[in-house]
Amino acid sequence: MKDMEKKLGEIRRDIEANEREARENGIPMKTAEEGASLRASMKTVNQPQMKKDAMALVTGKPVFLDDVTGREYLVVKVLRSPHANAIVKKIDTDRAKKVPGVEGIFTWEDVPNQRFTMAGQTYPELSPYDRLILDPHVRYVGDPVAIVAGENEDCVDRALKLIRTEYQVLPAVLDMHEAKDNETLIHPEENWEALVPVGADNKRNLCASQKSGVGDVEEVLAQCDVVVEGTYHTQANQQAMMETFRTACYMDTYGRLNVVSSTQIVFHVQRIVARALDIPQSKVRVTKHRIGGGFGAKQTVVAEVFPAFVTWKTGKPSKMIFTREECQTASTPRHEMEVKVRVGATREGRIRALDVYALSDTGAYGEHGPTTVGLVGQKGITLYGKLDAYRFDFDVVYTNHMSAGAYRGYGATQGIFAIESAVNELAQKLGIDPVKLREMNMVQQGQRMPSYENEPNRSCALDRCMARAKEMIGWDEKYPCKDMGNGKVRSVGVAMAMQGSCISFVDTGSAVVKLEQEGTYNLSVGSADMGTGCDTILAQIAAEVLACPLEQITVCAADTDSSPYDSGSYASSTTYVTGKAVEQAAGQVKELILKKAAQMMEAPLEELEFLGDRVAWSAGEKQVSIKEIADASTCGNHLAIVGSVTNSSPVSPPPFMVGMVEIELDKETGALEILDYVAVVDCGTPINPNLARVQTEGGLAQGIGMALYENVKSSGKGQILSNSLMQYKIPTRMDVPRFRVEFESSYEPTGPFGAKSIGEIVINTPAPALAHAIANATGVWFQELPITSEKIWRGMQ
């Protein structure tokens, strides 16, 4: 116990120092009570407001891209490679071009030879420039070979069939273990380029490679009483948003290419399309309508470049609507990974060392390859706050699979499955209850997090999340299992999770708030509401600052011409980064309103009070309503009542959560039923508790799909077998349990009204919690996803 006391002393000193520093920096950490009392005074924030677009959505109004793009748009489709690795030797489009209605057919000879990445990331992107719009070297089954545009789908389909292509088929690399230093190079080309040093080397099939750590892991592991080792394998998963990828383009009055896309990242699309087409960015404008789900898929420029190229070349409006089959076979699923974990602890249960190595398959192109993998270690190792040493190394390799991309959780999901599974097995080896083991070792508020850019953990209710989850599910009564006496066994499993709130020092969000003529406000942002409700959430923040009803804030997003810059809605950043910009921009507007009111009443500014619907000057016994101020701002006015703020954050405060599951497993068949799933989340202040809850429930359902059956399968030749929603099963409402979600909120001092993120973390607990419950029921530790009933049955034989 000496060892534990010593460590606790270290941590106490660390916390005290960080608390002092936070106070000195004007961002004091809050206790649970302080946070609750701050929230109690909020009127619009922390309220379950209805989404501003909700009624349009539930009544089926034409608010999505293809609802409003008519038949004047050319239909754009691409011919796709049937080979996993091949060179296009000859391509004959003569007969295809003669099909009536066909407007244009384009091949690699027609497109710029300037490589780019489709990953929607801040410039300079960490993903390598390894793409062309069309490349004579095709690198996966489904890689585009030719673009066909025509008046309607029929003629385009006929033309696609008439294109004759000769390929020189090359050997394919289809096993990620064999990719590094394979003699077959996925990207042998000389103009391949990595803009940022991430350990990429195209002559070794390496998209990224790095080593990191603190302390001597080998030495500490050697000192540990118990060490658990495991090799965990997670599959590629499809985001499977209900609206497939789609983009429509047209030329406007000014000769500019207008790209209307179902995208999370309008500004990145602008930059990427301009580079792909080799035209100035000022020639490209990007907007969006409602987005039918994204989950990260639409953080990559999947469909955009093809219709953009067609419209730029032909001058005619064009659109590309991905089929579900294309979505399943030529898109950007989660990176398949193999994660090796070694975790060591003292006999008393102090977790002293974590050693993690991740091998990630980025597929044919490097979209999000160097970045997703970083979260494997960062978001898993950091959960444990009493380590003496850790190591996190990774290799990201090119193969001839379809390119991977961004999917909710973004590497954290893979890492947390591995690390949490290893910790559960460690608990068993130590003979310590896995909840207790976590209570002893979890990261605490106030601690610095060495494996998390050494950021201070300024808001953390992970301990409360654990206590509440344990109580909700009845852990002490149910752990580990109960034989039901009918061949079935009931068991429970647990996992913790964290994520970030933005990419620190990188993600940038802006807001422009202006007073409108009738005394209401308009909020312009460049973030993208993909169903999450961020338009409403951001408006709630503005309404809280401006002390007005939510209805008085209108939202305009997102348009590269009229919105202020935003890196986009990804990396769990919108509420935290853009939300802070909104808070500050609304604050500016408030100050400007006071200034205008001071002019109007000829009053000293400091004596005025902003009351939401009016500004009062009690000393002068005068007041002016916001409507009067708004009127005055339109007549002989020189004062712009516009707030404009751009924000970025030097930290990425992690949300935390605990997930606990109860299952019933049939030992004869391996069939598994989820009886209960409790999730207790600390996302700081939930700006909109309804939306935070539904985010959690939706993330849990996706996590369950990933844990139990979702799997992007391919044949030995690299063809995707799970090419429809029949072969790739996503959970139906018959497959998910009744979720029970609660919030145990910390208060993040750097976030808007104490908020952190919610969107991604919620997918991280189901896989490890289910694997744990299954182990408790069967005695078998499954280390490869998905854990199908068949695998469970085989495992028990």
């Binding site: 309220q47 209805m50 909700a54 009624m55 089926g60 309804n690 539904v694 849990l700 996706q702 139906t732």
Partner: protein, 194 residues
């Protein structure tokens, strides 16, 4: 071939290709609430009523609808608003892309059964996929709607004036009252019809 049918209460005559699906036909006629999510007849997004029976319009030929009644959400705006407000009251509409198909099926369910059990609801809507919500919020909305309808049936036409203008909380204890307000809010924010 030429077909005549009643689409959302209006007589429609049209020349269609033999192979045209009912899905393509209704969208061509401006019923864009009808969505496609899968092409393999298993997402439920394209659900329409054919003589009041919910069908997957992607799997029915337009020609099959000749001489029959076809209804989409465009023709069921009142019911969609009334029920949809309860889904929206939970934030469970999320991206909204799957909503019209699910709401069509839910309307069919409510017409068939005024007081379905949870199991009946799950089974009836099993063919309506949703990737955003995890279904739980939809279930809460459906249950609240059923409770609201039951209470409404019991107490006759509710006095609506009393619930106007208050805050729009829709959680916990105030669920029923909140949803009544959400419904009212829905009427205000629903926008004009097509």
């Amino acid at each position: 071939m030429k077909i005549a049918l009643i689409l959302n209460g209006k007589n429609v005559e049209a020349e269609v290709d033999d192979g045209m699906t009912l899905y393509d036909f209704v969208r061509l006629k401006g019923c864009t609430s009808v969505k496609c999510g899968c092409e393999t007849s298993n997402c439920g997004l394209c659900t329409v009523f054919l003589d009041d029976v919910p069908v997957l319009s992607c799997s029915v030929l337009a020609a099959r609808a000749a001489g029959r009644r076809v209804d989409t959400l465009e023709g069921l705006q009142e019911e969609a608003e009334e029920f949809g407000a309860f889904i929206a009251g939970q934030g469970a509409e999320q991206c909204g892309f799957c909503n019209p198909g699910m709401i069509m099926n839910a309307i069919a369910l409510f017409r068939e059964k005024t007081d379905p059990t949870d199991e009946e609801i799950q089974e009836y809507l099993a063919g309506n996929l949703c990737r955003c919500s995890g279904y739980e919020g939809q279930m809460r909305g459906i249950r609240n709607f059923i409770a609201y309808k039951k209470e409404k049936a019991l107490s006759g036409e509710r006095q609506k004036d009393g619930s106007m203008g208050k805050s729009r909380e829709t959680d916990g204890a105030q669920r029923l009252q909140g949803d009544e307000q959400a419904k009212e809010a829905g009427k205000q924010e629903g926008g004009a019809g097509i």
